[in-house]
């Protein structure tokens, strides 16, 4: 029995070493776990109800957009209040290209990403001259301009653009309107699960991309820039370049979030992309953990999934109240984010252990 424990332990250690050597693997494993959870509604796996399934969809969309904000805010020290606007660009852009122009999904998504990248470049150029609160409010302008275009301009069809079933890679047509089970026969219909899987893959890829960026000299340049622009410049780091990169990546990830929305819901609303959504996503980043990729996911879970699934049935619609209070409390008392609770607890445990051992030893010394 003990021998088995030992071998389990060495295996575990080997596994941890493998993860350390290939960090992207941890995101792939995480994605695999999510993929299994997504089967919940089909096999009645208890914790994953259809409601949970839906909440996870939103959590994944938010995580992708929030990772862009984390790169911008956590690593680059810049803020953008236009996240929701760019998510709208993603969903509505895909919608327009597919319904008005009849483009295939992939082309529509690519074009939308390129457009948002160009808009991100514009914000980046703007940020070269304008900084601090002026920049924050400047991005608020961008968000408002986008929102007003969505709601006022007739091409967006007023309330929403209905995309309908999407054909991926020219072969696989998926219609999300089919429920989990066929009402008549009770047979499982996996359409929604395939969409869920696509979203999971996109999120995992985003996590890996962001991981690679922050662990490279680009990521270090972001952090040097957010610590002190003047010092960074004296090390040859071009503020212009990295601000542009940060804004382009952040807007493109927000847009990807919007595209994911269009993929799953197969429609694009015009009025959903408000300042409050941008704030919620910033909230997810701050609460979950600045400069942490899993923390961003955790933040989205805390801000979206927990209040929707667990608090609403108990206390009514406390989502906003909960999120707002949490943001304030976390910034005041736990500025590094909830995800660092684990690290801090480990440290505390180490200290306690040491102290206990120390006490034992002193007791031992006194005895002898």
């Amino acid at each position: 029995m003990k021998k088995c424990m030992e071998c389990m332990k060495t295996r575990w250690n080997r596994f941890v070493a493998l993860l350390k050597r290939h960090p992207p693997l941890q995101y792939v494993i995480f994605g695999g776990m999510l993929a299994i959870m997504g089967l919940g509604p089909y096999f009645g796996i208890i914790p994953v109800s259809t409601a949970m399934f839906g909440a996870l969809i939103t959590v994944m969309i938010w995580t992708v957009a929030a990772l862009g904000i984390n790169l911008l805010l956590g690593y680059g020290g810049l803020i953008s209040l236009a996240t929701a606007g760019f998510m709208g660009v993603g969903a509505l852009g895909v919608g327009i290209f597919m319904t008005e122009y009849g483009w295939p999904f992939e082309l529509a998504a690519l074009m939308t990403l390129l457009i948002s990248g160009a808009l991100g470049l514009l914000i980046g150029i703007f940020s070269l001259k304008v900084s601090g609160i002026y920049l924050a409010i400047g991005t608020l302008f961008v968000g408002e301009i986008l929102r007003r275009i969505f709601t006022n301009v007739p091409i967006f069809g007023g309330e929403r653009i209905n995309i309908g079933e999407i054909t991926f890679l020219g072969r696989f047509t998926i219609d999300r309107n089919l429920p989990f089970q066929d009402f008549a026969t009770g047979a499982s219909q996996y359409e929604r699960y395939w969409l869920y899987l696509i979203l999971t893959v996109l999120m995992v890829l985003t996590m890996i991309v962001v991981h690679n960026i922050v662990k490279s000299s680009t990521g270090r340049a972001f952090m040097a820039m957010s610590r002190s622009e003047n010092a960074a410049q004296s090390m040859g780091i071009s503020i212009i370049k990295y601000r542009l990169i940060a804004f382009i990546v952040a807007t493109m990830l927000a847009t990807l979030g919007g595209i994911m929305y269009a993929i799953y819901f197969q429609n694009a609303p015009t009025e959903a992309w408000t300042l409050i959504l941008s704030l919620m996503i910033i909230g997810a980043v701050v609460v979950g953990g600045l400069k942490s990729i899993f923390g961003t996911f955790l933040g989205a879970v805390i801000i979206h999934l927990v209040p929707n699934l667990y608090l609403r049935p108990l206390f009514g619609d406390v989502r906003s109240l909960f999120t707002g209070v949490l943001i304030i409390v976390v910034i005041l008392f736990y500025p590094r984010g909830v995800v660092f609770v684990v690290t801090d607890l480990k440290k505390l445990w180490g200290k306690l252990k040491k102290r206990l051992q120390g006490r034992k030893e002193t007791a031992h010394d006194e005895q002898s």
């Binding site: 690679n212 960026i213 490279s216 952090m223 610590r227 002190s228 090390m235 780091i237």
Partner: protein, 264 residues
């Protein structure tokens, strides 16, 4: 030490104004290769402003600041952008330590190698072989420098929470990572204990001798300056007073008057 040498940094009649205030006034001096030069003066004498002009943080100064490359070519620094100074061979440290708190010491030092990275953000996103190899090369170099500074054992620790003496060393290590020919140190000994100051002194000598790096420094710790510098330049209200060996500077009447006040 005073044998004729090739110059590395030359200030010629540099003047810097902030509105009506003249922070640096018609200042000229030269730093030679493999020389340790101290810049001293009372508070507000314009010392850091001189540094900021030399590194092009301020580019609206009058006069001329030249840097001499290894081949002996003279470069007018005004023609360079602030980000082009490091690749040219000048690196600096800061009065208020400018390190990234929640990054490991090794990563902080690696920031110094930033301009040497040839791979761009696309290669970083996809983590191509070239990007990985390059990262390894500079990591090895950073570890070498940390070893030279005797802090290699701390490399994986965060900067946050390290004692002041270590922080100063990390800053110097980061400056050395840029492969400079001239390092500009802004108050390197401020806040150090006596023991740490002695250590710093030895370190500065070793940087010069083992890496052939010239050093220009600002410091208020007169003992440190007089011990370490080959020559000292004294300024007051941005104006040149004298530049000479530490011994002569100490006895210079005007320096005494300006720097030490009437009581000296």
């Amino acid at each position: 030490m005073n044998s004729p040498k090739k110059p590395i940094l030359e200030l010629n009649k540099v003047t810097m104004r902030f509105g009506g205030l003249v922070a640096v006034d018609n200042l000229s001096f030269t730093v030679h290769e493999k020389e340790i030069v101290g810049l001293i003066g009372p508070n507000g004498a314009g010392k850091t402003t001189v540094f900021n002009c030399a590194t092009q943080f301020y580019d609206d100064y009058e006069g001329d600041i030249r840097f001499y490359t290894e081949a002996g070519d003279s470069v007018d620094l005004r023609s360079k952008k602030v980000t082009e100074i490091a690749p040219l061979g000048i690196s600096r440290t800061f009065q208020n330590i400018e390190l990234v708190q929640d990054l490991s010491i090794l990563d902080n030092v690696l920031i110094g190698a930033h301009y040497k990275f040839e791979t761009g953000v696309f290669r970083h996103i996809f983590k191509t072989k070239k990007a990985r190899d390059e990262e390894q090369v500079w990591k090895a170099r950073a570890e070498e420098i940390l070893k030279f500074m005797n802090i290699a054992h701390l490399k994986h620790f965060y900067v946050a929470g390290q004692p002041y003496g270590i922080l100063k060393k990390i800053e110097i290590a980061r400056a050395m990572m840029m492969n400079p020919r001239l390092i500009i140190l802004d108050e390197p000994a401020a806040g150090l204990t006596d023991y740490e100051t002695d250590e710093l002194e030895k370190l500065v000598y070793r940087i010069r001798d083992e890496y052939n790096i010239s050093i220009l420094l600002i410091e208020h710790d007169m003992g440190f300056v007089m011990n370490i510098c080959d020559r000292v330049c004294a300024i007051n209200f941005g104006k040149y007073i004298a530049m000479d060996t530490p011994k002569n500077i100490q006895e210079h009447p005007e320096v005494k008057e300006a720097y030490l006040g009437s009581e000296a």
